[in-house]
């Protein structure tokens, strides 16, 4: 055991080797300190027992790899309080609110009971590097009533007491700050906003000048700065693997060796160390933050004046704060991951339900045309949508649209689009006007969400035997004449949600005996296993063959599905794919 000379009157730090004999010896030293501070015999006896119990436990349950570390015991006696802190390197324990006595024949298990019964307060602060048992008891009134003599000796004593009170106040402050912050966190405070404030307060409590907090990114194995008190300092992420940089960066060293790494004038930082600019001429240390053996990050803290070394109590406060912060950050990360995965699952479920509800169960048929639709959703939910609405007199409205983006937002906009289309089917015969109206009514929401919709509206005019088409940034409609000539109908206009006052062109095509194909970009962007895009040409070729053969609408549908599958050779679709085949009839079935 070694002991530092008392800092002042009733304060002392003892460093014990991890050995029960050392505990017995330190109890004797502590008795002397307590006696000098004028504790009663009963108080001294009680504190001796308390210290013995706490230190015996620290020795008995010390982690095997930490037995060569000193067990530090801080004693602090003021005129009102006695405080003892025992720092252990055990795996830690859940400190009970009220320790109970074991069965009468049990040979062990009375230590915590004794400690709690002989002190007013006991708190066990658990950290990754070690734990601290903080024990306090109010002194008996005899000592508290200090005489009012103004002799020199007493003035010294008073000064000493003032100093001690100050130190006690700072440890009080740190403890109460921790509890205050805990309460705040339980209220669901955003950790990102909270960390700089908290660490700012830590600087004040420990009289430090700067801090840098890096958190560990498990995916990239790097330490990224998330908070720093230094306005004119910045540093990119540093890899945890030493192969890519000199391994003497203190933050990396602290993280990989699981212990504090100190720097000062005697042990300066490497000139290339990211902290070198901050630490120049000063002193400080990097403290790794662990939560259940997982690296959370590294807290570095320092003073500009290298002569002002940190005191043991201040180091203790920084370590305790840091460890507590590490746990909070880890807890928040876990909570976020949990919420995110729940949201994602739920989000996809809703989007997929919405999307199913969007598509017509069965495409209608009209006198002058037959229709076949195809829809395939990619792994993620997209915003593809098509619809076919009979309009009376054998007319029909055909709509195909693709909302940019995926997931719930895309599905919601597709749903909104569908509702608007269905609400204004009176505009069906004038596709360009219809698109303009849709754009006006969706613009604000799309613009705010930074999304857009490409769409194509086609009106099958049975009476005139023609189809009128308007397009808002959508892939062209393909139109194949009975002779096999394929035309891309690209009547122009911007996607919906891009220009508030967009106007759209309209194209008219004779459709008797012809076939048309409306589709979303998932069709032409289908990929083979090498990643090559299908493109428009193979589709046009197949459509030409279909038109010349005069095959049924279903046959053309199968032909195109066959083309898609043969091209992809089983590679999974990256995007939703939708198309509608329309085959015009030569004459009306109803004459």
């Amino acid at each position: 055991m070694s002991s530092t000379p008392p800092i002042f009157g009733g304060s002392c730090t003892l460093e014990l080797t991890c050995d029960l004999q050392a505990v017995a010896g330190s109890c004797g030293t502590a008795r002397d300190v307590f006696a000098r501070a004028d504790l009663t015999v009963a108080e001294t006896d009680a504190w001796e027992l308390v210290l013995s119990e706490a230190a015996n436990n620290a020795v008995r349950y010390c982690r095997p790899e930490a037995t060569d570390l000193a067990i530090r015991v801080d004693l602090l006696v003021t005129n009102e309080w006695v405080e003892v802190r025992v720092n252990d390197h055990t795996a830690g324990l859940d400190w009970p609110a009220e320790g109970e006595l074991p069965p009468d024949d049990s040979e062990s298990g009375r230590g915590i009971f004794l400690i709690q019964n002989l002190t007013d307060e006991s708190r066990y602060l658990r950290g990754s590097g070690g734990n601290c048992l903080v024990l306090r008891k109010r002194r008996s009134p005899r000592a508290a009533a200090a005489p009012r003599d103004e002799g020199e000796e007493l003035r010294d004593t008073r000064h000493t007491l003032d100093l001690m009170t100050e130190e006690l106040a700072s440890s009080y402050e740190s403890l109460s700050a921790i509890f205050r912050f805990t309460a705040e966190l339980q209220g669901g405070v955003d950790v990102e906003d909270f960390i700089p404030r908290w660490l700012g307060e830590l600087l004040a409590i420990t009289e430090s000048d700067w801090f840098v907090l890096r958190l560990s990114d498990t995916a990239t194995r790097r330490l990224r700065v998330v908070a720093s008190s230094a306005k004119d300092w910045s540093s990119g992420p540093i890899p945890l693997e030493a192969s890519s940089h000199p391994s003497d960066f203190v933050e990396v060293k602290a993280a990989s060796h699981h212990h504090d790494v100190w720097f000062d004038a005697a042990t300066p930082l490497s000139p290339t160390d990211p902290l070198a600019g901050l630490a120049r001429g000063g002193c400080g240390f990097a403290h790794p933050l662990f939560a259940e053996d997982a690296l959370v990050g590294v807290l570095s803290i320092g003073r500009r004046d290298g002569q002002r070394q940190f005191q043991a109590g201040q180091v203790n406060v920084i370590q305790t704060f840091g460890d507590f912060l590490g746990l909070q950050v880890r807890n928040t990360q876990l909570l976020e991951e949990q919420v995110r995965s729940q949201v994602n699952t739920r989000d996809l479920e809703i989007a997929s339900n919405l999307q199913r509800a969007l598509l017509p169960e069965r495409l209608p048929s009209v006198a002058r045309a037959t229709l076949c639709g195809y829809y395939r959703s990619a792994r993620e939910i997209g915003g593809d949508y098509y619809d076919a609405l009979p309009m009376g007199d054998g007319d029909m409205l055909l709509v195909v649209a693709d909302v940019m983006g995926k997931g719930l937002p895309a599905a919601l906009f597709a749903f909104m689009f569908r509702s608007l289309v269905r609400a204004r089917r009176d505009l069906a015969s004038r596709p360009a006007e219809f698109l303009a109206w849709l754009n006006q009514n969706l613009f604000q929401e799309l613009d705010r969400a930074e999304m857009f919709i490409t769409a194509q509206i086609a009106f099958l005019d049975s009476g005139r035997g023609e189809i009128r088409v308007a397009n808002a940034g959508h892939p062209p409609m393909l139109f194949a004449s009975p002779s096999g000539k394929v035309t891309e109908i690209t009547a122009g206009g911007p996607p919906l949600g891009i220009l508030a006052a967009a106007t759209f062109d309209e194209t008219t095509q004779a459709c008797t005996g012809a076939r048309a194909l409306l589709f979303t970009d998932g069709l032409i962007e289908a990929r083979d296993p090498e990643g090559v895009l299908l493109g428009l040409d193979p589709i046009k070729s197949q459509l030409a063959i279909a038109a010349r053969s005069g095959e049924t609408c279903e046959a053309t549908h199968s032909r195109l599905v066959g083309l898609l599958h043969a091209f992809e050779k089983g590679s999974p679709p990256a995007d939703d794919t939708a198309f509608i085949v329309i085959v015009g009839k030569e004459t009306s079935e109803h004459g």
Partner: protein
């Protein structure tokens, strides 16, 4: 620590402290000294200024050893501070405490 035998009793005395560093020794030496016909261990705590929970544990261990042999362990003249610890941990109900003065 001193040990002496008197009839069927093993008497332990001269104990100034009973703590984590020496209580296991006391327990083991006392057990090693047990011989046939011994029915009582008297632990004299009149010079004992300090007992902690490991000391209490050693006393309980010897108490259990004696009970198993059909005997007993007695505490003789504990000092006030030790008496207080015995009462606090309610072990005064377990041990027979004998005051000779």
């Amino acid at each position: 620590m001193r040990m002496h035998f008197q009839d069927t009793t093993l008497a332990l005395s001269g104990i100034t402290e009973l703590n984590g560093a020496n209580s296991a020794v006391l327990r083991d030496e006392a057990r090693a000294a047990l011989r046939t016909g011994l029915t009582t261990i008297d632990v004299d705590l009149s010079e004992t200024r300090f007992v902690d929970s490991s000391g209490l544990g050693a006393l309980i261990a010897l108490h259990k050893t004696m009970c198993a042999r059909g005997g007993k362990l007695r505490i003789i003249d504990p000092t006030p501070s030790v008496q207080q610890i015995l009462e606090l941990t309610r072990l005064h109900r377990v041990f027979e405490i004998v005051k000779t003065t």
